[in-house]
């Protein structure tokens, strides 16, 4: 859909480009190292070997799809575009179904088990959740990536985000060191809420998926009706 002017510029520019360097040998070395680590883990810790494979596939998907959690929450506000935000909502819907199956199987019909024994990240919710979310949101927009996006771009060769990674490591270490303080101040006083305890399993899953579908349509409508930073 580009105009003739652009086509001409593009053609002139590509005449000087001799094509990509052959990266086959790096690829082969990489596959060797990856399989070696997999075999090592497979022999010593089966669970880790599965996680290793999952991590590799997630990284590959992130890189190829340009999926970016930062952009998904930043772009609706900055440029009024919600295409990645909608992708996040779809991911939530899929993981809701997935986690429903995992948790249902693990609970085995006994819904009143201890929350800490239910698989998934069910953590106390309170002021600290909102506070941490705001801090993380500011940080990720300035740094240009969340944790997964930063790692993916370093792997891709985008050097700037190495600095982000250093900051990320320092922040995580400080957070782990001061966790006890925050735990005493907010976290231990906040309740961990598991909605199926109150509504039962089928109802809470249905409500969650319905809310996500409604959010998807709101996001779609927002995209069509907002042209922020328009000229």
């Amino acid at each position: 859909m580009s105009s003739s002017k652009i086509q001409e510029l593009k053609k002139n520019r590509q005449l000087n480009y001799k094509g990509k360097k052959n990266q086959l040998k790096y690829g082969l070395i990489f596959i060797m190292i990856v399989s070696f680590i997999y075999l090592y883990l497979f022999r010593n810790n089966f669970i880790y070997s599965i996680i290793w494979l999952l991590g590799l596939f997630i990284g590959f998907t992130l890189q190829k799809s340009r999926f970016c959690f930062t952009a998904s929450f930043r772009d609706p506000i900055m440029v009024g575009s919600t295409s990645i935000f909608k992708a996040v909502i779809i991911a939530f819907i899929i993981s809701t179904v997935g986690f429903a199956i995992i948790q249902y199987k693990s609970l085995g019909g006994n819904i009143d088990t201890d929350i800490m024994k239910i698989p998934g990240q069910i953590a106390p919710v309170g002021v600290h959740t909102a506070l941490g979310a705001i801090l993380f949101g500011i940080g990720m927009v300035i740094a240009g990536g969340c944790a997964s996006g930063t790692l993916m771009r370093i792997g891709e060769g985008f050097i700037l985000q190495l600095i982000v990674l250093i900051g990320f490591v320092i922040g995580t270490l400080l957070g782990a060191r001061h966790f006890e303080f925050w735990d005493k101040l907010f976290i231990s006083k906040s309740p961990a809420i598991y909605i199926p305890h109150y509504l039962g399993f089928p109802l809470s899953i249905t409500i969650q998926i319905l809310v996500l579908i409604i959010l998807y349509y709101i996001a779609d409508w927002y995209d069509k009706n907002n042209n922020m930073m328009a000229m």
Binding site: S2, A143, M231
Partner: protein
Amino acid sequence: MAEVRIDCMYEACPIPLIKALKKLNNMKIGDVLIMETDHSCSITNVIEWAKKQGHEVDYAEVADGEWEIYIEKRR
């Protein structure tokens, strides 16, 4: 028709988009903005935005991991 070139090398989202927006504001209709970037996310980001704004847009890989994005101002 004028060509304006901006250097967005080594800059992460959303800086390239903001730079492009500021430059486009001072350009005439029909002018072409050429953005140099090595941030692959900018391609999706800037192109989606430019299309939504109604500009002509395309990109090309000009070296390994370096791209040029062409935006022709339409309105």
